[in-house]
C-alpha cells in the first residue's frame, strides 16, 4: 500500500516535470515556481584504465528509460576520455572529472561541452588528474590526485585557487563551513596517508590536519554538520573503518560496527546514511551487505535491502535524496556494469545495464527550488 502511494507520488511528480520540460533540460530558460525536483539521473561509467572508454548514461527514474553514450551523442562522437572518476550537477551545469585524461569537462545538462578545464601546478608541465568534486555556495571544489585541492569559479569556469594538500587526495566535503580533503596516500603502499586536510573554503588556505585511520577515501556530511570518514585500511592487517569528525573541534570518533567493513557511504534524507560493507572470504570472493546508519543514534538502523535482492560486487553507492532512491553500481571489471536502484522501502525499484564498465557514480540532476546558479 505504501509502495503504491509512493509510486503514485513519483508519477505525479514526473508528470508535473515532464509537462514543463524535456528530459534533462529544465525550465527552458524560464523559472517556473516548482520545488526542487529530480529531473533525471546520469550514470557515470569509469571505464577500463587505458581504454578511453569512460561514458555516461541518462536514466529517467520515472519512466525507467535509458539513453546510452550521452557524451558522444551530445558532442558529435567525441569521447569522454580515460577513467572518469566523478560527476556532479550544479546549477545548470554538469562537471565531470576524467582522471587519466587530466581534464574536467563542464557541460550543459544535455552533456554538451561548455568548457574543458586542464589544470597545471606551478613548476610542472603535466596536467593534474581530477578525482572528486563537492560544492558549496557558488563554488565547485575538486581534488587532484597529485596532491591538490582546487576551487572552481562557476561563472568563469576556471580553477581560481589551488591548495597543496596531502598525497593522493580522494573525496572532498564541506562540514561546518570547513573544507575537508581525504589524503589517501594510495600511491604509497604500504605507507598510506593518515590525515584529512582542513581548508578554508573561501581562501583555500590549509588550516590544519586531522589524524584518522589509514587510507581515508570516502567522506560524507550529515544533517547536523558532522563529517563521516571511511578509511579503507591497508587491505592487509588494518581493516577499513568508519569515523566521525566533529568540525567544531576536529575531534575524531571511531565507530565500532560489529561485522561491518565499511567501503562506501552515501547520504540519505534526514538522519539516514547508507553504507556498503564488503569483505573477502579466503578464496577472494566478495561478500557484500548494505545498511542504513542513523546519524542521530550513531548506530546501524537496519538493512538497506529488505526484499531479498542479492546485489553482488558493489562498485559504487549513490543516493537521490529527493526521490529517496539508492543507486548501487556493481562491476565485474570486465563487462558492462549493473545498476541496482533501491527505493525508500528497501525494495528493488529497477536494475539495469549501465552501458559501460565500472559504474562509479549516479548523479541526480535537479531543477526548481532555489534560483539556478
Amino acid at each position: 500500500m505504501k509502495r503504491t502511494l509512493l509510486r503514485l507520488a513519483i508519477i505525479a511528480g514526473a508528470v508535473l516535470i515532464m509537462s514543463s520540460s524535456s528530459c534533462l533540460d529544465p525550465n527552458n530558460g524560464k523559472e517556473p515556481e516548482i520545488p526542487l525536483t529530480t529531473i533525471g539521473t546520469y550514470i557515470l561509467n569509469n571505464g577500463n584504465f587505458g581504454s578511453n572508454d569512460a561514458n555516461f548514461t541518462a536514466y529517467n527514474p520515472y519512466t525507467k528509460e535509458l539513453n546510452y553514450n550521452i557524451f558522444e551523442r551530445s558532442n558529435e562522437g567525441r569521447k569522454l576520455g580515460d577513467t572518469a572518476q566523478d560527476m556532479i550537477a550544479f546549477g545548470s551545469k554538469i562537471y565531470i572529472a576524467v582522471y587519466n585524461s587530466g581534464v574536467i569537462f563542464v557541460t550543459d545538462l544535455e552533456g554538451k561541452v561548455i568548457k574543458e578545464i586542464k589544470t597545471k601546478a606551478t613548476g610542472s608541465a603535466a596536467n593534474l588528474s581530477p578525482r572528486f568534486f563537492t560544492t558549496w555556495e557558488n563554488y565547485v571544489y575538486v581534488t587532484f590526485y597529485e596532491g591538490y585541492a582546487g576551487k572552481i569559479d562557476t561563472t568563469s569556469l576556471t580553477v581560481t585557487a589551488l591548495a597543496k594538500v596531502g598525497d593522493n587526495p580522494e573525496q572532498i566535503k564541506i562540514a561546518g563551513e570547513k573544507l575537508y580533503v581525504a589524503n589517501s596516500g594510495g600511491m604509497n603502499y604500504p605507507n598510506y596517508g593518515k590525515t584529512l586536510s582542513v581548508l578554508n573554503p573561501v581562501t583555500m588556505d590549509v588550516m590544519s590536519e586531522v589524524k584518522v585511520s589509514d587510507n581515508p577515501v570516502y567522506l560524507e556530511s550529515d544533517s547536523r554538520g558532522n563529517l563521516y570518514v571511511i578509511s579503507m585500511g591497508n587491505y592487509n592487517d588494518v581493516p577499513s573503518c568508519l569515523q566521525i569528525v566533529n568540525p567544531n573541534n576536529d575531534s575524531v570518533q571511531k565507530l565500532e560496527l560489529e561485522g561491518i567493513t565499511p567501503t562506501f557511504i552515501a547520504k540519505g534524507p534526514g538522519n539516514a546514511l547508507y553504507l556498503v560493507s564488503s569483505s573477502y572470504d579466503a578464496n577472494w570472493n566478495l561478500i557484500a551487505d548494505y545498511y542504513i546508519f542513523d546519524t542521530n543514534k550513531k548506530e546501524i538502523y537496519g538493512k538497506l535491502i529488505k526484499d531479498g535482492t542479492r546485489v553482488e560486487n558493489p562498485y559504487s553507492l549513490s543516493a537521490d535524496t529527493l526521490l529517496t532512491l539508492i543507486y548501487i553500481g556493481t562491476s565485474d571489471y570486465v563487462t558492462n556494469g549493473q545498476m541496482y536502484v533501491i527505493d525508500a522501502f528497501g525494495q528493488m525499484y529497477h536494475a539495469f545495464d549501465t552501458g559501460g564498465l565500472n559504474p562509479i557514480t549516479a548523479c541526480p540532476v535537479t531543477a526548481g527550488g532555489q534560483k539556478d546558479k
Binding site: D82, E146, W284, Y333, V334, T335, N336
Partner: protein
C-alpha cells in the same frame, strides 16, 4: 632441513655439469656425423644447419631459412614471424614496443623461445620480447606447434605448447680465413642501426666470431586518433630507443665427432615507453633500462655407434629499471629495479637401436631468482627439473613420435609462504602417414598436453600475486594434410601445401581478476579454441636466373571464453585474437633487382573479453615492398636494400590505443669483405 635440500639440488646440478663435460675426453672416436636425410627440394646453400622439411613433419613445423629471409627482405624477427601460419604477434608499436608471439590463441606464455637450441626465458612475465633479437645473423627460424619431430634436444623444448627457435649463422669461410661484414641501416623517424661482424678461422678445427650492433631511434612517428568529428594528428612521444648489443662466439671440433660452441652475449638499452594513447593527455614520462648478459656453452658428441650426447650450460643475468615521474607518486617519481638470474644445465642422450628408430632422454635443471626493489618483494627462487623420454620411428611412409615430459618445480621465498611444489606430466604423440606411394600426400595427427607454470609475477607480485595458483594447462589436437611436389619441365616448379585443423583447450587459465580494491591472479579461465591453418608455397624458375616464389598462409581461430555460462562473456572471442588472419608474399629473384611484396592481414578483434563495439579493434592489411641488389667491387661484395613498410600508410592498432607506425622507409647497405 630446507637448506640441505637446496644444497642437494645444487650438488646434483654440479654433477650433471661435470658429467656433461666428461665425454669430451673419453669418447674421441671416429664416427660419421649423423644427419637426418631431408629431401632438399629448395635450392641448396652452403650451410651447416640442417633444415627440416615442413611437409614431412608429424606436427606443424614452419621454417624460414636465410634464403627465405633475404628473399622477403625482412629485417626484424617479428617481421619474419608474421609470415608464419597460426601465429599472433602482439606488438605495442615502434622499435621499442614489446613484441610477443602467441601460437594458436594459447597466449605468449605458452611459446618457448630458444636461441641456438637453448631456452630464452623471463621468469617474471613468462614471455619473451622477440624485438630484442637482431635478424642480421640469423640462419633459420623454426616455429613448431605442438611436438616437433626433432627429439634430440633439451627437455625444456618439449615442455611448451609451441617453440620458436632462432638459429644463428655458423661461419662459412672461403679461402681467406676472415669474414668481415659491416652494415648500416637507416630508417624513418630518426632510426640508425650500424652493425659489424668479424669472424676468424683459428686453425682447422676452431673459429671465432664477434658481432655488435647499435640501434638508435627517435621513434616519434605520426599517428591519427579518431575522436568523433575531429581526426587528431599527433606524434608518438617518448618512444626513443637506444640499444647496444654485442656477441662473441667460439666454435670448435673436438675429437672426431665432438662439436663445441660458446656464446657470450650482452645487451644494454634504454627506451621511452610512450604508453597507451590517452585522450586529452599527451604526458608520457615512463622509461625502461635493460641490461642483459648471458653465456652459453653446448657440446655435442657421438658416444659410440648408437649413442649421441648433447649438453648445455647457461648463465643468464637480466636487469631492468623502470622509471616514471608524476606528482601522483609521493616522491614525484618512481623507480623500480628488477634483477633476474638463471643457471641452466641440460643433458640429452640419443640411442639409435635400429635404422629409423631413435630413443632420447633429456634432463634439464634450472634455477631462477628474482630481486625487485618494489615493496614486500619476497625474493623468490625456483628450481625446475624437467625430464623427458621420447621415441621416434621414421619409416618411408610412417613417422611416429611420442614423448613424456615431467616438470617438477620447487620454490623458496624470504618472506611469506612459497608456492607449493608442483609436478606435472605432459605426454605428446604425433603420427605422419603417407598413404599412397604415388603422391607425396601425407596425413598427420598429433596430441600434446602442455603446462605453463605461473610466473613470479603471477605468484608474488605485490598484492596481485597468488601463491595458490596451479599451472595453466593447454591441450592441443591437430589433424592435417601436407603435400609437396615438383612440376614442370626439368622440375622447374615446386609446390608445397599444408592444411591443419586443430582443437585446443586451455584450463585453469591464469588471469588477473580485479576485486574491489586489489587485483588478484586466479586460475579461473577456460578457453576453447578451434581453428585451421592453411599454407601454400610455390616457386617457379624460369630462364637461367629468374625465379618467382609465392607463399601464402591463412588462419581461422574460433577462440572463446567458456569459463562461466552465466557470464556476459560466455562464448565471446578472447581478447586480441582475430578470427581470421593471413599473410602472402611474392618474391621475384632476377639478375637486376630482387623484389618482394608482403601483405599481412589481421581481421577484427576485441581489446577486452566483452565482444561489444566499444572494444572492437578494426582489422587491417599492411603492405610492404622490398628491393635489393648485390654487386661486387674487386673482392668486396655489396648489397643495397630498401624497403617501404606499410606503404599504403594504413593507420592501425594491434594493441588498442598503441598506434602502429604508418608508411616508413628503411635503407640498408651491407659490405662483405
Amino acid at each position: 632441513m630446507q637448506y640441505s635440500f637446496w644444497a642437494f639440488f645444487k650438488a646434483v646440478a654440479l654433477f650433471a655439469v661435470a658429467l656433461s663435460m666428461l665425454p669430451a675426453t673419453l669418447f674421441a672416436q671416429n664416427k660419421k656425423r649423423d644427419t637426418v636425410v631431408v629431401r632438399h627440394l629448395e635450392e641448396s646453400r652452403i650451410t651447416s644447419v640442417a633444415k627440416p622439411s615442413p611437409t614431412l613433419q608429424s606436427a606443424p613445423v614452419q621454417v624460414m631459412d636465410r634464403t627465405a629471409i633475404e628473399r622477403l627482405g625482412v629485417q626484424e624477427l617479428h617481421e619474419a614471424v608474421k609470415n608464419l601460419a597460426g601465429v599472433n604477434i602482439r606488438d605495442y608499436g615502434g622499435i621499442g614496443g614489446i613484441k610477443t608471439v602467441s601460437i594458436r590463441s594459447l597466449g605468449a606464455q605458452h611459446t618457448a623461445v630458444s636461441y641456438d637450441g637453448i631456452a630464452v626465458f623471463d621468469i617474471q612475465s613468462g614471455q619473451v620480447d622477440i624485438g630484442r633479437f637482431s635478424l642480421d645473423n640469423v640462419e633459420m627460424i623454426t616455429l613448431s606447434i605442438g611436438q616437433s619431430d626433432e627429439i634430440f634436444k633439451s627437455a625444456r623444448m618439449f615442455a611448451s605448447a609451441g617453440t620458436l627457435n632462432i638459429t644463428s649463422s655458423v661461419p662459412v669461410f672461403e679461402e681467406c680465413g676472415t669474414n668481415v661484414i659491416a652494415r648500416m641501416k637507416v630508417g624513418s623517424f630518426g632510426t640508425y642501426n650500424p652493425s659489424l661482424l668479424l669472424e676468424q678461422r683459428l686453425g682447422s678445427r676452431w673459429s671465432i666470431g664477434a658481432n655488435a650492433d647499435w640501434v638508435t631511434s627517435k621513434g616519434d612517428y605520426p599517428f591519427i586518433i579518431d575522436n568523433g568529428r575531429e581526426l587528431e594528428h599527433l606524434l608518438r612521444k617518448n618512444s626513443d630507443v637506444n640499444t647496444l648489443r654485442a656477441e662473441i662466439n667460439l666454435w670448435g671440433s673436438i675429437g672426431a665427432s665432438g662439436k663445441f660452441s660458446l656464446k657470450a652475449s650482452g645487451l644494454s638499452g634504454e627506451r621511452g615507453l610512450p604508453g597507451s594513447v590517452v585522450l586529452y593527455n599527451q604526458d608520457a614520462f615512463e622509461r625502461l633500462w635493460d641490461k642483459n648478459g648471458f653465456v652459453q656453452a653446448s657440446y655435442n658428441t657421438a658416444l659410440g655407434e648408437k649413442w649421441d650426447l648433447k649438453s648445455v650450460l647457461k648463465y643468464n643475468y637480466a636487469w631492468s629499471k623502470y622509471y616514471d615521474e608524476s606528482q601522483r607518486y609521493p616522491l614525484g617519481f618512481v623507480e623500480d629495479l628488477y634483477t633476474q638470474q638463471e643457471y641452466y644445465c641440460s643433458i640429452a642422450t640419443r640411442f639409435k637401436p635400429a635404422e629409423g628408430v631413435e630413443v632420447t632422454f633429456a634432463q634439464d635443471l634450472f634455477y631462477n631468482t628474482l630481486d625487485a626493489s618494489i615493496p614486500e618483494c619476497p625474493f623468490p627462487e625456483r628450481i625446475n627439473s624437467l625430464t623427458t623420454l621420447a621415441g621416434k620411428y621414421q619409416g618411408s611412409s610412417v613417422t611416429i613420435v611420442a614423448s613424456l615430459t615431467n616438470t617438477y618445480i620447487t620454490e623458496k621465498v624470504q618472506k611469506g609462504d612459497p608456492a607449493p611444489d608442483r609436478n606435472n606430466l605432459s605426454p605428446a604423440l604425433s603420427i605422419s602417414w603417407k598413404p599412397f606411394k604415388a603422391t607425396n600426400l601425407r596425413i598427420r595427427a598429433s596430441y600434446k598436453m602442455g603446462y605453463r607454470a605461473p610466473t613470479f609475477n603471477d605468484l608474488y607480485y605485490l598484492r596481485v600475486g597468488n601463491t595458490n595458483l596451479r599451472p595453466e594447462r593447454a591441450d592441443q589436437y591437430n589433424l592435417g594434410l601436407t603435400w609437396s611436389d615438383t612440376f614442370g619441365k626439368e622440375e622447374s616448379g615446386w609446390l608445397s601445401a599444408t592444411l591443419d585443423g586443430y582443437y585446443n583447450s586451455v584450463e585453469d587459465k591464469i588471469v588477473a581478476r580485479p576485486t574491489l580494491f586489489i587485483w588478484k591472479m586466479m586460475n579461473i579461465g577456460k578457453v576453447q579454441i578451434a581453428g585451421a591453418d592453411l599454407s601454400v608455397t610455390s616457386r617457379v624458375r624460369f630462364g637461367s636466373d629468374h625465379s618467382i616464389t609465392l607463399s601464402t598462409n591463412a588462419s581461422y581461430q574460433y577462440a572463446v571464453d567458456i569459463s562461466d555460462p552465466e557470464s556476459k562473456t560466455w562464448r565471446h572471442q578472447i581478447p586480441y585474437t582475430p578470427r581470421i588472419s593471413g599473410a602472402a608474399n611474392l618474391a621475384w629473384n632476377n639478375p637486376w633487382v630482387n623484389l618482394s611484396y608482403i601483405i599481412s592481414f589481421v581481421g577484427e578483434k576485441y581489446s577486452l573479453p566483452l565482444n561489444v563495439e566499444r572494444n572492437l579493434i578494426k582489422g587491417y592489411a599492411e603492405h610492404t615492398i622490398s628491393a635489393y641488389r648485390d654487386f661486387n667491387l674487386r673482392r668486396v661484395s655489396f648489397r643495397l636494400q630498401g624497403e617501404i613498410i606499410n606503404f599504403t600508410n594504413k593507420m592501425y592498432d594491434i594493441i588498442q590505443y598503441y598506434p602502429m607506425p604508418g608508411r616508413n622507409f628503411r635503407l640498408t647497405l651491407k659490405i662483405k669483405i
